[in-house]
Symmetry: C2
Subunit: 129 residues, 2 copies
DNA sequence: CGGGATCCTACGGGATACTG
DNA sequence: CAGTATCCCGTAGGATCCCG
């Protein structure tokens, strides 16, 4: 293990930041929905169902801030706002999908490990409860 | 947009879960450190520096639960516990590194977009403050 | 319709003290 | 040395009301 090992902390921060960014409760879902093409605020909201309008607003703001989605306002009488993936946003989808594929492929193994762990540890500790 | 669009919500949940799992503050850092080989509790702690022992314990427990790291206890007088990446954990590193590469490659673009956004929006809104 | 402001709760996560 | 338990705070995130 060379010095570069410790030095790697910096790149890792970057990764963490990205992961935290899209790893929150809604960002990924929104990005994926927008992957099918531009959508209006309420269309996104309806497609996700359970999201609150506050969180959708916040999520979209964050994604817009990072340059992943673009926001287009139509100054019509009933306000209309379209959200769409930017090139950077589309680009992001590539590695994200890689991770997604991995997740899909290994989800079962993870869940099995999880159940095994819970059974083993939960069983011997909270047995008195 | 076909029905499959809505149906995709399920795989996305999986991805979100994985992302949330490793997207927390410490999991990725720990996984990366263990990528260099097995480490003891305090070695990990020291290598990360700022992590509290509570969070390190919690993080390791979570990773162990999901089957990403293995925990080996040596019943010696001064307790010694080794943590190592499981094959699944190593495997996870592949797509994670893909995302990491992307993050590294695009970090500057994101940060620029972020600054631009902050300058534009923060400037016109909090001007009164 | 889009979204800002406010209130409130749950949880992540840090500091500290104690145990085996 | 490794780990648990407790306290405490900040933020994520939901519900609701209000405004253009």
């Amino acid at each position: 293990m060379k010095q570069s090992t410790l030095h790697q902390t910096e790149p890792c921060r970057r990764i963490s930041e990205i992961l935290s960014r899209i790893g929150d409760k809604w960002s990924l879902l929104v990005i994926r929905q927008l992957g099918n093409g531009p959508l209006r605020f309420s269309e996104i909201k309806r497609s996700l169902g359970s999201i609150s309008q506050k969180m959708l607003t916040a999520t979209l703001r964050g994604l817009e801030r990072d340059g992943f989605v673009s926001r287009t306002v139509f100054p019509t009488v009933p306000p209309r706002v379209d959200y769409a993936l930017t090139p950077l946003g589309c680009d992001l989808l590539v590695p994200v999908r890689q991770l997604g594929d991995w997740a899909m492929a290994n989800a079962e193994r993870i869940e099995r490990s999880r159940r095994r762990f819970d059974a083993a540890h939960g069983g011997e500790k909270s047995a008195a409860a």
